[in-house]
């Protein structure tokens, strides 16, 4: 089952933003990737609609999508767009949205993205049940929020239909936690997931841990950029389109410069007393993320706290992590020292007065620091985007 090229995926992820009103859906579908009316130049649009059949338009306050048949009988497309100025949401990264709930497959995912996707799901079901016969390859495509929705769509297709799913995202944020990411990688197949991101695009860096990216334990299509700081420019679809131009998927994989999963590297970052260089740097946030994962896993293992189940509750994520870390403070020295190091590092980054002893690290203080750092990460993402 062939995949589509980076050029094609980028073109579709970009053009979907041009669909400003519903009458432009027809223009969008006149691109050669899609099934065309049998007598081009003859049928006016309303006939064309019946002729081609099976286009479905998906609408939600924060997103928009199209289900359509490909130009050959093997392909289907589910293409999603993020927020536009006209519905001026963009509040998907506000604190109210960053919670976790179970996806249609019962896996922990981001509330905001999940609600957007589930509102479109009835139409997607209708598309498959009324317009699709035989096994196909379903190409799920999107940029930014559209990429997050495409990820949930591909996961749904892989689990609930006879079709093969392929996923192509550009600058997408993180959709779910460890459990979801692991499971969706198996369901879709890691080799069918094409996650494209610029090093300095801040959107794929949020939300912070426990949110992660699929494919599990893989770097995706990392695109190096020379600028040290995160920037909104690096998030733009036009920039992605330029970056992938004429390249193959194989060519689109610069190696990320630091494997932040190496334990000794994380430990020495946590222990180092050097000041935080710049909290706007792409590197800083990757360290924070790795360090959070490292310390939480250490505590969870020692205290036998289940991380998997822990996040799906009515508590905020900061509450849950604070709970786990506060447990860690009371554990043996070889565990609690890492919680201390992590909290000092975060407090330093936040410009707070750093605590002297671990007795000062109360549950409330840990919770406060985590909430501040989460806020800062989201602000950093939004701020970088607005710095253009």
């Amino acid at each position: 089952m062939p995949e589509i090229s980076p050029d094609t995926a980028a073109q579709l992820a970009e053009r979907i933003y041009d669909v400003q009103d519903l009458s432009l859906v027809d223009f969008f579908l006149e691109q050669s990737f899609f099934k065309q009316a049998k007598k081009p130049g003859f049928s006016p649009h309303k006939h064309l609609m019946a002729d081609v059949g099976g286009r479905i338009i998906l609408k939600h306050r924060d997103g928009f999508g199209i289900c359509a048949h490909g130009s050959n009988d093997r392909d289907l497309f589910l293409i999603f767009r993020g927020t536009t100025m006209a519905n001026s949401g963009a509040d998907i990264f506000t604190d109210a949205y960053i919670g976790i709930e179970n996806s249609s497959a019962g896996l922990p995912v981001h509330i905001g993205f999940n609600r957007c996707f589930t509102s479109m799901l009835p139409e997607i079901r209708t598309f498959f049940s009324t317009h699709v016969k035989g096994g196909k390859t379903v190409h799920c495509i999107g940029h930014s929020l559209g990429g997050a929705i495409a990820s949930l769509a591909a996961d749904w297709v892989a689990r609930n239909t006879i079709h093969a799913a392929k996923l192509y995202t550009f600058g997408a944020p993180r959709v779910g936690t460890d459990w979801f990411v692991n499971s969706t990688t198996t369901a879709i197949g890691g080799e069918h997931i094409h996650r494209v991101y610029h090093r300095t695009d801040p959107v794929p860096m949020v939300p912070l841990y426990p949110f992660m990216h699929a494919p599990y334990d893989q770097d995706g299509h990392y695109l190096f950029s020379v600028e040290p700081l995160t920037s909104g420019e690096a998030h733009k679809m036009t920039k992605y389109k330029k970056s992938v131009k004429t390249k193959s998927w194989k060519q689109l994989s610069d190696a990320p410069e630091n494997p932040y999963t190496v334990e000794s590297a994380i430990e020495s970052w946590l222990k180092s007393k050097s000041p935080i260089a710049d909290t706007s740097s792409a590197t800083f946030w990757r360290w924070v993320d790795s360090a959070l994962i490292y310390v939480i896993k250490k505590v969870a293992l020692a205290a036998i706290v289940s991380i998997q189940g822990a996040f799906v509750t009515s508590f905020t994520i900061a509450d849950k992590i604070a709970y786990i870390l506060a447990k860690g403070i009371n554990l043996a020295e070889n565990i609690s020292i890492w919680v201390e190091h992590l909290m000092r590092k975060l407090m330093q980054a936040l410009g707070m007065k750093v605590v002297e002893s671990k007795e000062e690290l109360t549950h409330n203080l840990i919770r406060f620091v985590l909430m501040r750092i989460t806020e800062k990460a989201n602000k950093e993402a939004r701020n970088a985007l607005r710095r253009l």
């Binding site: 041009d18 669909v19 400003q20 993020g82 100025m85 963009a90 253009l388």
Partner: protein, 145 residues
């Protein structure tokens, strides 16, 4: 949160200048009313009127807006140009544009543009944006030219 981070104001081209000649059955369509509709921040949009001269020549100037940028909310502009001539209303241009660039619709400025109202089919130009138009041009002048 937003009080700390004021979005930077940027200029976006909502409609790139379009000028040329309107004809009907090969003859200049003099005194035609040209209605430009653009929508980007709401569904209603805004409408402006222009008129062709004795030779059928018309010119729609560049439409820009300065707005607070937030790339999480992508700019997406709907455009329509309709011509009223001899009691008929004919759509000559319909487009969706998501770039803020000048001439982002076609990738360049059409030179030697003519719009024949008797044409029945609009042609689609889908490489740079989603555009369909009755109008034809001799060439596109890109910004590098």
């Amino acid at each position: 949160m937003s009080i700390f981070f004021k979005g930077k104001k940027v200029e976006a081209v909502l409609f790139s200048p379009l000028e040329g000649k309107i004809t009907y059955q090969g003859k200049p369509a003099a005194g035609a009313t040209i209605k430009l509709w653009i929508a980007w921040k709401d569904k209603d949009g805004e409408t402006e009127l222009y008129y062709s001269d004795d030779q059928g020549n018309f010119s729609i100037p560049k439409k820009t807006v300065v707005y607070k940028d937030n790339p999480l909310a992508q700019l997406s502009v709907g455009q329509e140009v309709t011509v009223e001539y001899q009691g008929k209303e004919i759509l000559i241009w319909k487009a969706g544009k998501s770039s803020s660039h000048l001439f982002g619709e076609l990738g360049g400025q059409p030179v030697g543009l003519t719009c024949e109202l008797a044409n029945e089919e609009m042609t689609a130009y889908l490489d740079h944006a989603l555009v369909k138009t009755l109008c034809k041009w001799q060439r596109l002048k890109t910004l590098e030219d």
